[in-house]
Amino acid sequence: MRKLASYAPAALVVVLLLALWEGGCRFFRLPVYVLPAPSRVFRTFVHDLPLFLEHAAVTVQEVALGLGIGTALGIGVAVVAFYVRPVGQALTPFLVGTQVVPIFAVAPLLVLWFGYGIWPKVAVASLITFFPVAINLLDGLRSVRSELLEFFQALGAREAKLLRLVLLPAALPFLLSGLRVGATLSLVGATLGEWVGASQGLGYLMIRENARLRLDRVFAIVLLLTLMGLGLFGTLGVLERLLRRRR
């Protein structure tokens, strides 16, 4: 109850803003191609949902593939960097590098290399996911308490067994924190990839409707993307909390 009450001020601000927006649109009789009223956006959202979902399916596929590939790469790099210190040191600048390179600059190149299909977007999404996963997992592996390991080491467990029995499970919540950051960002990344060149996906649809001055649709897509991001973030957050509760 108290937790619910703590959300009240934020909810109030949202309601006020929406009311102001709605009132402004009506008062100034703004056309849809300048600024659609929230009520209009909501109606479009419901009405065109089948169209949106069709394109959302493509975006979700890109994000899912990107998350999968980025996570797998991140795990691989983190484990190697954990065991081979020089590799970790050698890779760090590149890891950071992948994060500072503006995706906007790389996206056209990726389209050039991977074509118009889903792969350039998958590449962007995996690139974005990879870094937080690798860095967080490496942190997690390094923070495993030695008492947890020593019992198994004394019994003669080899590294692969230690990794499976102790290190990876211990570092799993760290990996999920990284994945949570990566997941939301990779949704943005995939959409961005679709802006640059695509024939499907929410990013593509946004650009198309924008050109047609159907701003109600553009806003509705933004709403859908927001909901998708929140859903992804929330799901991973719940998963992470379930895992952490046992620590």
């Binding site: 019992f151 080491q153 004394a154 019994l155 003669g156 067994k161 102790v166």
Partner: protein, 266 residues
């Protein structure tokens, strides 16, 4: 010599030694130079023997166990467990909380068996049966954080006992417990050792604990640890906690451990 320190006849057949440390040297590198923790330490533990190690904190007891477990390579000297290198041949219970927090009590115990490969169903059943003997029945599916400190120690001990190794090395197995739980767990461990005899090296700073559990108690000097005295409590376990003999031995050990004495002996 004190009768308690007289040679014992309980030693099994000659030939093999369960644990042998010969002239072991360990030094930790520090910015201001090497810190000797063990300087020429030797120890032989016979199969089936329970040896208690007591000593002032920081004297190198834990280092001794880690060397014996093969977790730490000595700078000089030799470590043998039944004549071979120690790694993989001992069950070592580290100090403090060493259970995997994401596994249930049973899962933690089974993890010890998983080291040697897939766990056959009958091993799983045996583990479950032992939960009763270890006073843990009904808690197989509990996570470590749901158990009391005493119960967590029992799970850790059960895991160590079940790991099918010839030698058990226990580092302060009742370290973080309140006095009552401790006493209770000590009595219980005596019973467990009766039912499941093992070769044990037990590190503790509780002199009474060492006397209640050990066939032999080794009193160690401050760092670098060397044996100051060897005490053999009379009679088989269980020994009466308050018996005058035990109290006399306890006082003798405490006196050997007191800093005043070290000042005299250098």
């Amino acid at each position: 010599m004190n009768p308690a320190a007289a040679p014992t006849s309980s030693r099994p057949a000659e030939g093999e030694t369960a644990l042998e440390l010969r002239d072991v040297h360990v030094a930790f590198p520090l910015p201001q130079g090497a810190l000797p923790v063990l300087a020429g330490f030797s120890l032989a533990v016979a199969p089936g023997e329970v040896v208690g190690l007591v000593g002032p904190s920081g004297c190198g007891k834990t280092t001794l166990l880690r060397v014996s477990a093969g977790l730490l390579r000595p700078g000089r000297g030799e470590v043998r467990v039944f004549g071979r290198a120690p790694r993989g041949r001992v069950a070592y219970m580290p100090q403090g909380d060493s259970l995997l927090p994401w596994r249930t009590a049973l899962g933690n115990v089974l993890a010890a068996l998983e080291v040697d490969g897939p766990v056959p169903p009958e091993a799983r059943r045996r583990a479950q049966e032992l939960f009763g003997r270890f006073g843990l029945s009904g808690f197989e599916k509990s996570f470590p954080h749901e158990l009391s400190g005493g119960m967590r120690q029992r799970v850790a001990l059960l895991r160590t006992f079940l790991a099918r190794r010839e030698l058990l090395l226990l580092d302060e197995p009742m370290g973080a417990l309140d006095a009552l739980t401790r006493a209770e767990l000590q009595d219980w461990l005596v019973e467990v050792l009766q039912a499941l005899p093992r070769t044990v090296v037990l590190v503790t700073h509780d002199v009474e604990e060492a006397l209640l559990l050990g066939d032999r108690v080794l009193v160690l000097s401050p760092r670098p640890a060397r044996p100051l005295q060897e005490v053999r409590p009379a009679g088989p376990r269980p020994r009466a906690r308050g018996s005058p003999e035990l109290q006399a031995l306890r006082l003798r050990i405490l006196e050997a451990l007191s800093p005043k004495r070290h000042a005299q002996t250098g």
